[in-house]
Amino acid sequence: MIAKKICLIGSFAVGKTSLVRRFVESIFSEKYQTTIGVKIDKKIVQIPSQDVQLMIWDMEGRDEFSQHRTSYFRGAAGYFLVIDSTRPETLEVALETQEELQGQLGELPFIALITKRDLTEQRRLDPHRLATMEESGWEILETSAKTGINVERAFQRLAEKILDS
């Protein structure tokens, strides 16, 4: 079976760890436990052609003071750009990160995940901006680690994209 490294990248507290926990352990917690450094989890996804062992690198969120080390991305086959639907600033962080990563890693498959979809009342993202991103070719999925919606699908899609590329 082939193994692929994928990374979850985005601002702090956008829900990266929650996505991984939902996907790997099928649990969700309201309590915020910030990640320091990196944690690696593994899970096999089945896509029509074959099984893929995903090595999921959940990374410390980006904030003012913590910059990712380039070494963390080494060997990645694809990544999620994680954006919090309730915090417009996290979209800006994602856009910045994407620009940097592209310079660093070249064109790798990625998917933008708009998280916390269950919090519809608090949604604060500008739909026009999302539309523009989609027009420019971004694949965007709206997820909720709380309800589980689109979580499985996201990992599945990224694995497919990686194998297609």
Binding site: Y32, I36, D63, R124
Partner: protein, 733 residues
Amino acid sequence: MITESIFRELGILLIRVDLTTDNAVSEYHHIGEPPSWAEDFLPSESKTIPLTDIFPFIESFIPDAIACWNDNAAEKCQSGVWTEVAASSVQYQLEAQALKTDNQYIIAITNLTPTYQLRQHVYQKAREIALANEKLKLQLNQRQRQLQTLIEKTISERQSEEELNDVVKGSASAVMICKPDGGVEIINQALMDIYSVSHENPLQHRSLLAQWLKEAESIHPEIHRVVDSGGYWEGEFESESNGESKWIRLAIGPVLDNDGGIEHLVCIANDMSELRKSNREIEKLTDYDLTTQLPNRRHFWKQLTKHLDNCIRHKSSFALIYIDIDQFKRINEGLGHHGGDFLLATLASRLSRSVKRDDFIAHLGGDEFALIINMAREDIDLGKIAYRLMEKINKPTLIEEQNVSVSASVGIAIHPRDGRDATSLMKNADLAMYHAKEMGRNQFQLYAPHLGQHFMGRLKVENLLRQAINQGQFRLEYQPQICTGKNPYLRMEALIRWDHPEEGVIPPGQFIPIAEENGLIIDIGRWVLETACRQAKEYADTGLDLVMSVNVSAFQLKDIHFPATVIEVLSEIGLPAKYLELEITETTVMQDLDKVINILRELKKHGISIALDDFGSGFSSLNYLKNLPVDNLKLDRSFIHELPYSDEGKTITASLIKLAHDLNMKVIAEGVENNQQLDLLLEQGCDYIQGYFFYYPLDPQKIRDILTMLKAQPNYSWIESVSTTTLANKRQN
């Protein structure tokens, strides 16, 4: 091997890596007995382990490790923390480091789990607060925009003022509607609360808009342009309210008339001070500085005492290195707080990457860093280490498209040689650092006992200074500035003298800089001003005309109340303002040009004249001179000193004098000591001469004699009294 057992004791797993000739990993072996935590990961039977299978994280670190081994790429030697789940499902926080000893390539894996909780806690708190801040800001922002739109609508639909008043008064946000020139139309209670003003006189807020624009300007230079052009502006800045500093979030939006002109400005403010404070609070809760993520002063102190205990027990030695960034305050003001913080964080990360793992680095706060360097061997070259640190600091940092270069002064004290306890070590490292600064910055200094004498001198001066005012140890002397033309009055500069009962005469050069540093200059300055004015009043009362020139330090001028203080002194003493001149130095002016100009204007408005001291010593650009409300320029004595032998000096004085005259200023030459200098200055049209050639600084009685003489001979000319060839020649032509 002893060392191996030490590593085991420290919980460090050592792995030897064999590289093939083309730099690929061929094999891993762990060395010695693995620490107990590692047994959770390692297969028990074999010593050859596929390390990247056990720790997948290592795979991404290997290229860095190889760069570290082969190219000494120090910044790549550490992997960063990662979390690994063992077979037992226990989670471990680990960090790898690449090392090279005896040509063996080693990866050392440290178990950080025991201290991880602490570390995590810091980040957790910081991010939770950042999150709360972000949410709150978002809400405020939204509320602000809603209110803005509502008010704009009410105004543009020409609804009654009453309705508008209701909208504004009912708002929980602080609102002011004003004319583009700042004239207040409506202001609500919430705003008055922020600025603690009473209801009766809300119109005293006429200047509020101007105040905001000025305050915001330093971090948001675009504010004037945006507001003036009828744009919408919002941002945060520090604002002063009754002497208290607040952090304000402000939005300014225009209401336009039909022709697109600005009719009103709608300003909505929110006091964010509490929010900001909470950020600072958590820094206090923790052992880390949040700007740089380095251990803070408290943490450093703990570590230092621990280190001392250890060293005393093992009879070993360590060095304390104290780093202070040169002129950081100025840089910080130039960059704004964000830029300053970014710079500090960058320096911190560079510094921490350049020290060994068992050394310790802390950010003591502000622009101070400290390091504890183990001196396992006697021959460790501290100079080299200091030099390396300074190099790291000197490297330019890109901040907002601008390359910023800074330097640092470094002081070093060694335990036990330079101090056996934490306090004296710190004191001596600080003293050495101070010495490095005095020697011209961007250098390091090892502590030596003789540095202490200088320090003692300083401290002593400082202590003595405090008594000097109360015990009346100061007095003034007055040095005449004689007029080269015919003039009925005498100008003089008041000069401070300090006669200490035991120490004798202490020259101003030795105590004024210290007084400026510790703020005593304010009291001293006030004493000088009062004494000189009182003296001038005494002379004036006997019908003797004069101008008394008094030196003012940068420190005094920074006080916005300074003009008021001067006026108060004058009126208390009853001295008409025209008798007083204030002397300020060029460097003082340049420190804060706009502010100083305002203060000078204020003083001049009352009839006080201004002289610019040391002119020509500081800045090459003369452009700013045009805007300075200055009556007299004092040529720096270094120019005069060169006369008449230096052609360059001659040209400079000639052009400075001409420039001053073009700007309607008079020129005073300082330090004139001989006939040739005088001749030349006269030829160049200099207006006043001060120096030993005419008079030493004199006591009040001698001045009185001169004034009496002048009164008796209203047409007296000093120039004629000394026979000068120039003048004689001139008269012949």
